[in-house]
Every structure is written in C-alpha cells, then in structure tokens.
C-alpha cells in the first residue's frame, strides 16, 4: 500500500477535507479523487525483475548473506584470489534469489488475478436517469449506485435509501472485522424519501463535505447539504467497502470514498514483525561466525606467508610464483581473500530460509491438531504468524482477559435487586438458602406466549411481584426492555430472536421478555413493547450511547400516555454519583445487594430512571441536534450534553448476570502454574467479581499466605501498599545489602533488567485500575514490578484497554521474559499487539482480537497444549536443527582449515 501513499503524496500534498456533489461527475473530477479500481499487486511484467531484486536485497535477514555472496562473486573474478570456480558461489545465490523470486511472483500473480476479479465485478450505477451495469473499477466518487441483497458493498457509500422500512439496511461486516452478527445502518430521513424513484435520485444533488480518507473503521464525520439545509452524517449512515448487504432487497448509496481511499484499503497496512529470541540469538551467532571466519583466514594467510617464504621459495622451479606476486607477504595477503571464498560455507547462508520452512511446518502442525479443534463452533486452531512457534515454549508471563477468555461469555440473568429487595435466591420453608441445581423448580412462564423457553429463573417471588403489578418492578422491566441497542428478528410470528452486540444486553432484554415485557420491534423512532400482553409503542427520542469512558447508556422515550422518561443503566461506580439525594437509603440497600452479587462472581449493572420536563427537554433536544451536526468537536459537545441530562436520577435497582467459566479452565491454570508460568488477569470487571473468578478458576486459593489488595487512591498510598506487600513477601529486599538494590543504584539510568526474585511463600496481588494508573507512573513502576513479580498471581481489575497494554509493556521492559497475552475482545487488541505473542480466542465478542493475534483458537484450555506441547516441540526441533546446521557447517569448513596446514596454505 505504500505505493499508493507515494503516488498520492506526489499528486497533492494532503487531502484535508473531501468535498463532493452527488450526480455531478464534472464537479467531482476537479478534485482528482481516486476511482474505484484497486491495485494490491506490486509488480507488472516489466518491473518484476528489478523491483523484486531490489526488495529482496532490502530484507534485513537476507541482506548480509547476499552482500557476502555477491562480494564473494566479485572476489572470484580476481584471478589471483579465485580459489573455486565461479559458479560455486553464484549457484546458491541465484538459487535463493530464484526461490524467493518465484514465491513473490506467484503471490503477485494471485494478487493480479484477485484485483482483476474485484475490479471487474458488476454493479448498477445511475447514469442519466438510467440504471446501467458498470464494472467496479469505473465507479467514481459522487456516483449513486444500487446494491441488492447479498451484494458486496462496492465502495464506501453514504446510504440514501433502502427497501426496508425507515430505510434500514442490514449488513454483515465479516470481511472488515470478522464479526458475523448483523449490523444495522439507517439513512437520513431526508434521503430515505428518495426511495427507488430513479427520477428523484437523478435529481438528487446533495453536497457532502467530510473528512479526508482515513483508516478508522468506526468513525465518520461529515455533513450533507441539501437544498440549503445541513444534515449531520456519521458512521451509522455509512456502508463500508468489504461489507455484505443482508436481509435487504435493495438500497441506494452515494460513493464517498472509492478504491484505495476506502477504509478497507486504508486499513490493509503492514503489520509489524515480531521476532523471536532465537532470531536474535541467530544474528549474534552469525556475527560471531563472521569473526571466526576472519580469524581462520588470518591464521591461514599468515601461514601462507611463512610457507611461501620458507618452502615455496625453493619450490619455484616446479611452480613459479604467479605474475605480479613478488613477496611471500603479498602472497599471504591474497591468500586471505582466497580463504574467505573457500571457507564461506561456515557462514550459514541458507539458515534463515531453512528456519522459516521449519517454522512453517510447525505452524501447520498447530493448525492440524485435533486436540485444539473445538467441534461446537467448528473452529480449528490457527497459527496466524508462522514465525513465533518456538517462542511458545519460553513463555514466562501470561496476561489473560477474563470475560470470554476464562469465562464463556454466555450471559444469563441470574439475580436482581428491585427497590431494595433482592430476587434470585431460592429459600426453603425455614428460610435457608438452597443451592440451585437441575431439580430446583423453574419459574413457569407459560402465562407469557412470547417467553424464551431457554430462559431459566428459580425465584417465584419475582413473578409474583410482576403479576401483582408492583410499580417499581414493572418500571424495572420496562427499563430493561427499552434501554438497549438490541435488534429483534421475528421471522415467524411469535418466534423472536435477538441480535445483540453485547451478550449482557441480550441477557437483560431476554429476562424482561420472559417476565412479560417483550421487546418486539424497533424502528429508528419507536420501540414496540408488549407489556403484560398489551402492545405499547414508545417514541424513542434520543439514545445516549454507551462507551468505555461513560460506562452507561440512556434512552429518552415518550410513553403512549405522553410521559417523558429517561432510562439509564450503567456501572455502579459511575451511576451512583449521578443519583438524586432522595434515594440514599435505597442506595445503601442496593449497595449491599451489589456486593453480595459481586461476591458470587456476577456482573452487575445499576439501573435508574428520571422523569423529564417537557420544556427542558425541548431545549435540550434542540441543542443536541446542533451538537450532533457540528463538524468539529462533536463528541465533546455531545458528551457534555449527555452529562447535563443524566443527573439526579432515581435509583431503581440492580441486575446481576452470571458469566460461566469455560471448560477446563481451573485445570489449565493449575498445569500452567506448575510449569512456573505466572498468570496475570487483566479485566474490566470490578474487584469483587474479578477476585471471585480468581477463586473459582483456581488462580487464588486458600493455600496462599496472603492476597494483597492495592486500592490506594493517591500516589503515596499506592507506594506504601506496594512496599508493605514486598516487606511481607521478602523482608530482606529492603536491606542495603540486597543485590538488586545495589545493582539499581549503580546503573541508575540505563535500561534495566530485573532479575527474578523469590518470595518466602505463595502470594497473590489484586490491584484496581485506579491504583494501577498511579503505579504505572514513572517512579512507582519499579515498585509495582518488584512487588507484582514476587506474587504468583496478579489480578488487575477495572483496567482500561490502554492500561492492559501498559502492564504488558512494563513487564517486557523490566523482565527478560517472554510474555503472552490472551483475549477475545476489542479491548484486548492493544495488549495482544504489545505482548511478544498474542493469542486470540475466537469466541463470542467478535473477531478483532483474533485478527490482531498471532495464534487463535476457541477455548482457553487449548493454551495448555499450545504452550506445553507445541511450544516445547517447536523449540526442541528448532534447537536440534540449529545445532546440526552449525555442526555441519563447521565440520565441512574446518576440514579445509586443517588441510591448509598440509597443502602449503594454498587455499586448496
């Protein structure tokens, strides 16, 4: 892709803003936007040879072999020096170049083929009021095109209208991010009116101003000006190249970015190469061998000088010195180079190629392993990077995500607390809690024809409360059925399937459905809910969406009775600060319940609502519209508005969702711990949940001497807590005589590697994200590493994706150890990319983690086999190979060396 960058860099320095008008090719052509043909191939017939050779010589690994080899070749051309016939050095060089050249040629040929195939796909374009079939590559920015069901999206399009009501369009983004659940896009109302009226579409002359092409898949900002009015455009109205249209008969789109400017093509950047420690060792070895070669040649050259002086001089009757050689020392000098040629076999020319082939083989073995194949969703293990196999056997630190990695990420609504009353536990006659098992009687939802039969709940009192029309309970479930982003799919009457992007939401909506608040249908402006058998249509006025900073989402709806209500759900820490002071007592009770839920390892959310004044809301919604059409600082303005309205909320209760552990997780963790691998869990969950999961999967156990909890909220607190922990684990590490202290005082500024320390027992450490933020600051880093590495298990909770990466970076920096990060979600991507080896779990939360990982499989427990079997085998095989390779080279070359002493050092 760098070629494109170059090309565009030359044409116009930088595109700052894109400006285009629909159906106006002349206008758009002025800007010289790229058309829709793509080129991923690197060479053509004529440029192949020079470009490919240039590229091959640029590859670092090959560079100095080829340098050496070509040097040898030129040395050979000097008759006094040449000791072998010329083809002995040319043949391997040509062979290596040809093999990689042919491989590149085949790759490029395939790219040519796929480019040609893609560029020639047909699509319907609107030209002069008529729909015409055109090839993809002839599409220009500003064209209006028609896509039908199951078509690939041709370019980055602005959705204008579609066959579905409210111009919804369903797309599958598998090619873009690997997620297979359907996503919904929706056109502006003003363009949706165009429908499939070709006349109107031809007359459509909206002008679009938007940002320059970039690679952010989830962001788009722009405005559409139509008949003097401005409309905001965002990612919700964009169909990106690489997606597939699903469940939509037809849709029309306006081409915004085409060909190389599309987000898909902008994203196909180069990935950074990860190298293994064996690679580094190999580089060192090769350098040492070079030095060794020079030494051998020097010895032999000196030997030759002496021999020519002592013996060769008298041998001249039979063998006169060559022309131009007049002294023994000059002869010795030339002989040095002759020996460089003859002994060059000691330098392993083909080593890198052979090593790559062996690694490739090992990767295939990983992919072929049936013991890492997960039959339930038909997923074999995948080695996406083929160069890291032997590093797998050297792992010392594992950084693991919790949700979806250790747990299944299949959520079920388990408990809740409504208006100070906790539901979910089952009690017997005497008031004793009973363990829930298969025999426990499930709640009968037969009164509700739309209930999901798979849903199970055991506490009958909640159903009673619903049936008694308890107001808070009804409001609680109404909230759950309204405040979410789930898409319903009702293919047959009464057979509802929810498409949820987050499984938590799916679980909550399903719970509400079973208790009689069935979320039935959604349009951009309404939500249809069947409340206790009665269909109600709520007007959806605003969605205040969820993100990682806000950690909450809200909806503002108008009920059929005309009441304006804001419903909000979110993390307890965040939401508690937004509550109205009137619900303090309820807050305390709910907190108690929350702690109880979290103690059982459940994921909790707090729900709240607020009734809104009509006047205030009208004012707010006006400002909201302004903010959302702003081109600059839109997000800041919006979040300000959100905060303004999300306050003084009335607490309703809390939900608790169970996230079940995956199969075999405790056993795997135990085995890995036996292999002396340290496991750090980095999770976004709250401390209690995290610790509970820690206990249930055997990370923490009662045999541990102590589990330190670091939750200080100032820098000093954190420092003290860390120091106290270390004092307990290894008291003598504070003495001046401690080796590490001495070492660190000496080398104050340089890159420091921390040696391993041994604690006086088994300890665990739990640190919260808040404290972690302090601990990751400059001067505390060291304390954190020392304390954390003394512990067998470290759990970081409430961490952000960035902190995950920082923690991995920290260990990489101070420990000379190989790290592995394993995770399944988008929030693990940074950590996976930072660690030496990234492993993605191809599970529920989409595929981003897999796409950026080096290895991927479906279940956490396969990690054991990957590390302890494949990693070990790969390492052993590689070591055997290297040993043999070097042995072979030396054996072959040293024969020449020793023979030099018998043949008058004549390079024979």
């Amino acid at each position: 892709m760098s070629l494109f960058g170059l090309k565009f860099g030359k044409k116009k320095l930088k595109e700052e803003e894109r400006h285009l008008q629909a159906n106006n090719r002349d206008f758009n052509l002025r800007f010289e936007y790229a058309n829709n043909s793509i080129k991923t191939s690197k060479y053509n017939f004529f440029t192949f040879l020079p470009l490919n050779l240039f590229e091959q010589f640029q590859r670092i690994a090959n560079a100095y072999f080829k340098f050496l080899n070509s040097n040898l070749f030129f040395l050979q051309l000097i008759p006094q020096v040449s000791s072998l016939s010329w083809f002995t050095t040319v043949v391997p060089l040509v062979l290596v170049l040809t093999v990689s050249g042919v491989k590149d040629a085949i790759d490029d040929f395939n790219r040519h083929k796929s480019d040609k195939h893609v560029n020639n796909r047909p699509v319907q374009v609107l030209i002069n009021g008529m729909l015409k079939d055109e090839k993809w590559m002839n599409i220009q920015v500003g064209d209006i095109i028609k896509l039908e069901n199951n078509n690939f999206v041709t370019a980055d399009l602005l959705l204008l209208s579609s066959s579905e009501p409210h111009s919804l369009t369903y797309i599958e983004t598998a090619e873009l991010d690997g997620e297979t659940n359907l996503k919904v896009k929706q056109a502006l109302t003003v363009t949706a009116e165009l429908g499939e009226d070709l006349q109107k579409l031809t007359e459509f002359n909206g002008e679009v101003k938007c940002e320059a092409p970039n690679n952010k898949l989830d962001k788009f900002m722009g405005t559409l000006t139509l008949r003097g009015e401005k409309y905001a455009l965002d990612n919700e109205k964009m169909l990106l190249r690489g997606c597939t249209i699903r469940n939509t008969e037809w849709c029309f789109g306006l081409v915004i970015y085409a060909g190389p400017d599309t987000k898909l093509m902008q994203n196909s950047g180069k990935t950074t190469f990860k190298r293994t420690s064996i690679d580094r060792l190999m580089n060192v070895l090769v350098l040492v061998i070079f030095a060794f070669l020079a030494l051998m040649c020097l010895i032999l050259a000196i030997g030759n000088g002496i021999w020519e002086h002592e013996r060769g001089y008298y041998f001249q009757v039979y063998l006169p010195w060559e022309e131009g050689i007049n002294s023994a020392s000059y002869s010795g000098f030339l002989m040095f180079w002759s020996y460089v040629i003859i002994l060059n076999t000691v330098v392993p020319i083909s080593l890198y190629v052979s090593v790559e082939i062996i690694r490739l083989g090992n990767s295939f073995y990983i992919e072929w392993d049936r013991k890492m194949y997960y039959p339930l969703n038909d997923t074999p293990a995948q080695a996406r990077t083929t160069t890291l196999n032997e590093e797998l056997g050297q792992i010392k630190y594992i950084f693991s995500d919790k949700t979806g990695t250790l747990t299944q990420n299949i959520m079920c609504f388990n408990k809740c607390s409504i208006n100070g009353k906790s539901y979910g536990d089952v009690y017997d006659m005497s008031g004793q809690r009973i363990e829930i098992n298969e025999k426990t009687e499930k709640v009968d939802f037969s009164y509700n024809p739309l209930a999901d039969p798979k849903f199970a709940f055991y506490d009958h009192s909640l159903v009673e409360a619903v049936k008694l029309s308890d107001v808070p309970t009804h409001r609680f479930f109404r909230l759950l059925s309204l405040c979410h982003t789930v898409m319903p799919e009702e293919k047959k009457e009464g057979n509802l399937v929810y498409q949820a992007q987050s499984p938590d939401e799916g679980a909550l909506v399903t719970a509400a459905r079973n208790f009689g608040f069935v979320f039935r249908a959604r349009t951009p402006e309404t939500i249809t809910v069947v409340e206790m058998g009665e269909t109600k249509i709520y007007k959806l006025l605003a969605i205040l969406d969820f993100n990682n900073v806000r950690k909450r989402m809200s909806v503002i709806v108008r009920s059929p009775d005309g009441d304006l209500t804001l419903y909000c759900k979110g993390a307890d820490t965040i939401l508690y600060e937004l509550l109205d002071s009137s619900c303090d007592t309820l807050k305390e009770e709910t907190t108690e319940h929350l702690n109880e839920f979290a103690g059982e390892g459940l994921r909790t959310l707090v729900v709240a609502y607020k009734n809104l004044e009509e006047d205030y809301f009208q004012d707010w919604i006006r400002r909201h519209h302004e903010a959302s059409t702003a081109l600059e600082g839109r997000e800041d303005k919006l979040s300000e508005l959100y905060e303004e309205i999300e306050k003084d909320l009335m607490l309703l209760g809390a939900t608790a969702i169970e996230d079940k552990l995956q199969d075999g997780v405790p056993q795997t963790i135990e085995t890995l711990a036996k292999a002396n691998i340290k496991i750090w869990v980095l999770t976004g969950d709250k401390q209690e949940t995290a610790m509970n999961i820690g206990y249930s999967c055997n990370l923490l156990n009662d045999d541990m001497e102590d589990v330190f909890i670091i939750e200080g909220s100032t820098s000093d607190d954190v420092l003290n807590e860390l120091r106290n922990a270390r004092k307990k684990m290894k008291p003598d590490s504070f003495l001046d005589s401690d080796e590490i202290n001495i070492q660190f005082e000496k080398s104050s500024k340089k890159q420091r590697i921390m040696p391993d320390e041994q604690a006086n027992g088994v300890y665990g450490l739990v640190i919260t994200g808040h404290s972690l933020a302090y601990a990751l600051e400059g001067n505390l880093e060291l304390e954190l590493v020392r304390a954390a590495c003394l512990c067998k298990v470290v759990i970081c909770c409430r961490v952000t994706p960035l902190q995950k990466a920082q923690v991995v970076e920290l260990v990489k920096k101070y420990k000379k150890a190989v790290t592995l990060a394993i995770g399944d979600g988008a929030n693990d991507v940074s950590m996976i990319k930072t660690a030496h080896i990234g492993v993605g779990i191809s599970g529920q939360e989409g595929m981003q983690a897999v796409l950026s990982s080096d290895f991927s499989f479906a279940q956490f427990r396969y990690l054991q086999r990957l590390l302890l079997v494949h990693g070990r085998w790969s390492y052993i095989r590689m070591c055997k190979f290297l040993k043999y390779f070097f042995y072979k080279n030396f054996a072959f070359t040293l024969v020449h060396f020793w023979y030099g002493f018998f043949s008058g050092f004549s390079a024979q």
Partner: protein, 290 residues
C-alpha cells in the same frame, strides 16, 4: 490432558468441514523411535562398538604385518648426485648411482616397487590445477586458456605437450633392480604397464589420433624439464607411450600430501622370481634424468 478427550469428535465419526484430518502425519503420531538413554543401553552399545572396532583393528594390523617392506632412502646414499642436483641449473646433467642391499628372507608373492618423495607439495592449489585435461584426452585445444601457465607455451608459441606444472615436474629417475647370485648379476624383470588405474589409462588419458605417435604430437614441444618428447616416454611399446604412459599417468594423479609414494614397477614373476624375490643380495641402479 485426559479431560480434553471428552469434547473431541470420536474417531470415525463424520467430521465437520474444518475439522483437521485424523491422519497419523497431521496428528504427529507417525511411528517414531526415541531411544531412552540409560546406563545399561549406553554402556552396552559403547562396549559392543568398541569390541567391533578392536576386532577390525586387530585384523588390519595382522594383515599389515604380513606385508614385507624394504625402504631405502637414496638421497643420502647417492649424495653425489643429490649435491649435483641441489643447484637447479644442473637439472639436465646425467648422474648414476648404485645401492646395494640384502634381503634376509624370501619376499614371497607379488612385489611392488614404489618411489617416494618428501616435501614435494603436489597438493599446492596452483600446482594441482596446472594441467589441461582436454589436452590429455588427445583433443586439440588451445591450452593458452587452461591453467597451465607458465608451462603452456614457449615464447615462440609452440605449445607444450603435455602442458602444466605437474607434467613438467614429472619424476624422471630410472631405477633398475639387479639380483646378485653367486657373483652373477641378474636383472630382475620388472613390469612397467598395468600399474595405473583402468579408468585413467582408458578413459581419462588418450593420445591424439594420427597414423603414428610422433606425427600425432607434431607441432608441439616437450615441457622444459623433460629430456625427451612425450611420444618417446616408452620407446619399446607404443601402447605405453604418449599420454597413456603408465609412469606419466601415475605421476599425474597428484597426491594429497607433501610426502607420498607412487607405484613404479612390479616384479614380473618368471624364472627364479616366480615366487617373488628370493633372499640374497640386490643392487638398485638409479639413473637420474633419463
């Protein structure tokens, strides 16, 4: 790892599309032999190998002991000639020398006569490549392109036949063996053919084709250190003359070390030498540079 097997598809069961094949190769279950090294196996193998090597060694020593060898260094004994030759400008001067020796016992069986040289670096790289294999095959080639220089052509352009440093420095002492019995001197019959390798004689060395040998080498000259042209190497037997002369072929097969022996003659087993050399007094008669 036992707990994993539960979720695996059973063998023979129909597999979904992406399930890896259950072949021995793909599952890394090919039969393999990994020796477990323990004291018993290692020691027994070690001693068995040792015993085998010992047996081979003993038999080699025994067979070597049955070979009788007489070695005579005539550089010292023919010191006059050696002195003469130390000045290399005297290379062409003839010199004769006789050496007496006595065999105490009969030397039975085949008897081989070798000459040996010391400190003669036939393995020097430039010496070794200084020959033209095409020329030695009897082909008419321009030896200027070969590595023969400076022994390729004379100043007037006449090519040397054979060219190169190896040929030029050919061993040219003539050694005759006499048996002295009851004061009568009998020349021991020696075979000068059949000493070289069959492939050398018949494949790698060939004379140029012509109606006779001297015409075949017309237009060429002998190497500077030679006393006579190549087609007169064996004046009695034309099939042993030119490039296919056995002495020449043997010399051209250069030795790997600076101290070496080359087969020179074999005793022809006739008359009183039918069983080999009988015990008694012998004389080597050595003529330098003939």
């Amino acid at each position: 790892m036992k707990n994993k097997t539960s979720s695996l598809p059973q063998e023979g069961e129909a597999c979904p599309s992406r399930c890896p094949d259950n072949s021995a190769f793909k599952q890394q279950k090919l039969p393999a032999w990994k020796p477990q090294l323990n004291i018993a196996t290692v020691l027994s193998i070690f001693f068995l190998t040792g015993a085998f090597c010992l047996a081979v060694g003993i038999s080699l020593v025994l067979s070597a002991n049955s070979v009788r060898e007489v070695q005579i260094d005539y550089s010292d004994q023919c010191s006059d000639c050696s002195k003469l030759r130390e000045n290399s400008s005297n290379w062409y001067k003839e010199c004769h020398c006789s050496i007496n020796f006595m065999l105490k016992d009969d030397m039975l069986g085949d008897v081989f006569m070798y000459y040996g040289l010391q400190n003669f670096y036939q393995n020097h790289r430039r010496y070794m490549i200084s020959r033209s294999n095409e020329q030695l095959l009897g082909q008419n080639v321009n030896i200027g392109n070969s590595y023969c220089a400076p022994f390729a052509t004379y100043a007037n352009g006449t090519p040397m036949a054979p060219c190169g440093a190896i040929a030029n420095s050919m061993f040219n002492d003539t050694i005759d063996l006499y048996y002295i019995r009851n004061s009568s001197v009998i020349q021991v019959p020696l075979l000068k053919t059949g000493n070289s390798w069959w492939t050398d004689k018949n494949v790698k060395f060939r004379n140029p084709i012509s109606y006779n040998l001297s015409s075949a080498f017309a237009g060429t000259a002998r190497p500077p250190n030679w006393q006579k042209p190549v087609y007169l190497l064996d004046e009695e037997d034309e099939r042993n003359s030119g490039y296919i002369n056995d002495d020449f072929i043997i010399w051209m097969r250069v030795s790997a070390f600076a101290t070496f022996r080359n087969l020179y003659r074999r005793v022809r087993r006739v008359r009183q030498f039918a069983d080999g050399l009988p015990a008694g007094n012998y004389t080597f008669h050595i003529s330098y540079s003939i």
